[in-house]
C-alpha cells in the first residue's frame, strides 16, 4: 500500500499497523511529506521533528514486530508547542522562548513516548495560549484549512488546523477558556476539554493554573476517546491531578441515548448568535430527540458574567506564572541592561508580544494593593456562582448542549484591533473552565460560506464517558466529520 496523501484516523492506522500492511516508518514518512508540502501555506507547525520521528517510528515497528503493541504504538501525533519536550525546542508561541530546549518531558509526552507514539512536531499557538485566533503567535498565524483567509481559532489553532489538514492523525492541545474546543469547531474536528485534574499539567507551560487542562484534538469521537485514554489519570508530579479511576472510554462509546436528559441553557441561545450556527445547533437538538434523548430547557443565570470573571482570574494567575521569564535561567535576555532589574524589565519587554503584555498588566493590576478585593476576590466569588449554576443544572440533566462559538471562524485581522471583541468570542466556552467540568466540541454542520460549525456537549465533573457517548451517537447519525477541506 502506498500513500501519496495520508488520510487516516488513529483507529484505522492501528488496524493497518497491526495487520502489518503498513509500517510506522511508511506512515510517518507520508505525514512528514504532507507537512513539508502544506506547511508553507498553513503555518501550523513551529518545529517539525523529521529525524527523531523516523527514529521513533523504527522503534515502534520493532515493538510491533515483537508483539508488544500498545494502543498508540507507531501512531503519528503532533502536540501544541506548550508541552515540554526533552531536547526539542519548546517556544510556547513566544519570542522569549525561541531557543528554549527543555531538559525534561511533560508527563503527557512521557506517556506518549512510553507507548512509542511518533511525535511529528510542535504546533503553532497563540503566545502562552493567550488568544482566540492564533494571531498572537510570534511565529505568524496558522491558517484555517477551510479558508486560508480565516483564523483557525485559538489558542490551539495549529492543533486543530493540522488535524483538519491531514498533516497528523491527531494532536494534543490545551484549553484554558476554550482553546481546544473553539479551534476544533472552527476547523471541523473533534476537541475535548477534560475535567480539571483529569490530565496532568506537569511540564505544560502554565498560563492560568486553576483553569488549564490538556485535551485531545482528533478526526472523530472514537479517536478522541483513544487519545484521552492514553493521557488521562493521576500523576504524582502534578498535585492538582485527581486520583480518580479512569474508565474505559471506548467500551461505553456505543451505548444508546434512550432516556439521556439533555439541557438547553436559555443563556446560550441568545441574540447575536450567527443564523447558520443557530440553525445547525437547533438541527442537532432535533437529531438528539430522534436518538431518544429527552431535551429540556435549563438556566445558567450567571453566564453573562463569565467573560468578565475569566479576564480577572486568568490574567491574575498569568501575571504570577509569567514572572518566571526574567532572562536569568532560560529564555531571552536583553543585552543592553544596566543592572539586574533592568535585565528583567528589558528582557520581558523584548520577549513578550502585545497580548501577553496586556494580560500581565491587567492581572498585575487586579492583584495589586488596593484593588485585590475589588477585582480578584470579587471575580473568585463570581466564579463560585458560575460553578453553582452548573452543579444545579446537573441535578436536572446529564448533559448540556450549546453552540461552541457565536460565529464560524472569522477573518484574519478582523478582531485584532479590539481585545474586548476578541475576548467575547469565547463567551460559550469560558464558563466550563471556570466551573472546572468537561466538554467536547463535535462538528454539527457548515455555514453558507463553507466554514464548519461546532456543537458543545458539557458533562458533569469526571463524566467524560457520558459526553463521548453522546457525541459518538450524534456523529454516527450524521456525516459532517467525513467532509474535508480542499487543500493545496
Amino acid at each position: 500500500m502506498t500513500m501519496t496523501s495520508p488520510d487516516f484516523t488513529l483507529a484505522a492506522l492501528r488496524e493497518h499497523l497491526d495487520k502489518k500492511d503498513l509500517s510506522a516508518v511508511e506512515v510517518t514518512r507520508a505525514y512528514l511529506e504532507r507537512i513539508a508540502a502544506t506547511n508553507p501555506a498553513l503555518n501550523t507547525f513551529i518545529t517539525i521533528c523529521e529525524e527523531s520521528a523516523i527514529g521513533e517510528a523504527e522503534a515502534a515497528d520493532k515493538r510491533i514486530a515483537a508483539g508488544d503493541t500498545q494502543p498508540l504504538t507507531g501512531l503519528p501525533i503532533a502536540v501544541k508547542d506548550i508541552f515540554s519536550t526533552r531536547n526539542v525546542r519548546t517556544t510556547c508561541g513566544s519570542r522569549i522562548l525561541q531557543n528554549y530546549r527543555p531538559p525534561y518531558d511533560a508527563s503527557v509526552i512521557d506517556r506518549l513516548k512510553k507507548q512509542n507514539a511518533v511525535l511529528l512536531g510542535k504546533l503553532n499557538m497563540d503566545e502562552f495560549a493567550m488568544g482566540s485566533s492564533n494571531e498572537n503567535s510570534a511565529y505568524g498565524p496558522a491558517k484555517n484549512p477551510w479558508d486560508r483567509t480565516c483564523v483557525p481559532g485559538g489558542s490551539s489553532g495549529g492543533s486543530a488546523a493540522s488535524v483538519a489538514a491531514r498533516q497528523t492523525a491527531a494532536a494534543l492541545g490545551t484549553d484554558t477558556g476554550g482553546s481546544v474546543r473553539q479551534p476544533a469547531a472552527h476547523c471541523g474536528v473533534v476537541g475535548l476539554k477534560p475535567t480539571y485534574g483529569r490530565v496532568s499539567r506537569y511540564g505544560v507551560v502554565a498560563y492560568a493554573s486553576s483553569l488549564d487542562q490538556v485535551g485531545p484534538v482528533t478526526r472523530d469521537v472514537r479517536d478522541c476517546a483513544l487519545l484521552l485514554q492514553a493521557v488521562a489519570g493521576y500523576d504524582p508530579a502534578d498535585s492538582t491531578s485527581v486520583d480518580t479511576p479512569v474508565p474505559d472510554y471506548a467500551a461505553t462509546l456505543e451505548g444508546d441515548l434512550q432516556g439521556l436528559r439533555i439541557g438547553l441553557p436559555d443563556e446560550y441561545f441568545i441574540e447575536g448568535v450567527d443564523a447558520d450556527v443557530h440553525q445547525a445547533v437547533t438541527a442537532a437538538v432535533d437529531r438528539y430527540r430522534q436518538l431518544g434523548a429527552q431535551v429540556v430547557p435549563v438556566s445558567l443565570p450567571h453566564t453573562a458574567y463569565a467573560v468578565a470573571c475569566y479576564y480577572l482570574v486568568a490574567t491574575a494567575e498569568a501575571s504570577s506564572n509569567l514572572a518566571r521569564y526574567d532572562g536569568v535561567r532560560y529564555g531571552l535576555r536583553a543585552e543592553d541592561a544596566e543592572n539586574l532589574i533592568d535585565t528583567y524589565m528589558k528582557s520581558r519587554a523584548a520577549g513578550f508580544g502585545t497580548e501577553v503584555k496586556r494580560r500581565i498588566m491587567l492581572g498585575t493590576y487586579a492583584l495589586s494593593s488596593g484593588y485585590y478585593d475589588a477585582y480578584y476576590l470579587k471575580a473568585q466569588k463570581v466564579r463560585t456562582l458560575i460553578r453553582q449554576d452548573f452543579l444545579e443544572a446537573f441535578n436536572q440533566v446529564d448533559v448540556l448542549l450549546t453552540p461552541i462559538a457565536p460565529t464560524p471562524a472569522f477573518q484574519l485581522g478582523e478582531k485584532v484591533a479590539d481585545p474586548l471583541t476578541m475576548y467575547l468570542s469565547d463567551i460559550f466556552t469560558i464558563p466550563v473552565n471556570l466551573a472546572g467540568t468537561c466538554a467536547i466540541s463535535v462538528p454539527c454542520g457548515f455555514a453558507e460560506n463553507g466554514l464548519p460549525i461546532g456543537l458543545q456537549l458539557i458533562g458533569k465533573p469526571f463524566a467524560e464517558a457520558t459526553i463521548l457517548q453522546a457525541a459518538y451517537a450524534f456523529e454516527q447519525a450524521t456525516d459532517w466529520h467525513h467532509r474535508k477541506p480542499d487543500l493545496p
Binding site: 528554549y100 525534561y104 536569568v328 541592561a337 520581558r348 503584555k357 496586556r358 460553578r387 474586548l420
Partner: protein, 95 residues
Amino acid sequence: MKISRADVEHVSRLARLALSDDELDALTHDMAAILDYVEQLNTLDTDDILPTSHAVPMENAFRADVIKPGLTPEEALSNAPDAAGTLFRVRRVIE
C-alpha cells in the same frame, strides 16, 4: 475606578515590564475599556459567597519525603543565557 496613565506606569514597574510611550498610551486605553467591562460584576451581591480558587475541592496534597533524581547542574544550566561553573551569571546586584 478609572485607570490613569500614571497608574499604568506604576503597574508596569510592578510587572517588571519596560513599556514605550506608545505602549503605555495603548494600554491605558485598553485597560480602561476592559476594566469598564468587568465593572458589571459589581451588580452581583456576593457578600455571603465564598471565593473559588480551584474548581476541584481539594485539601493539601502530601507525598513521602523521599529523594528522587532531578536535573543535573549541566541540564539545569543548559538554557542559561550566561553561566559560570555551576552558577547563573547576572549583572552586578550589589555595588
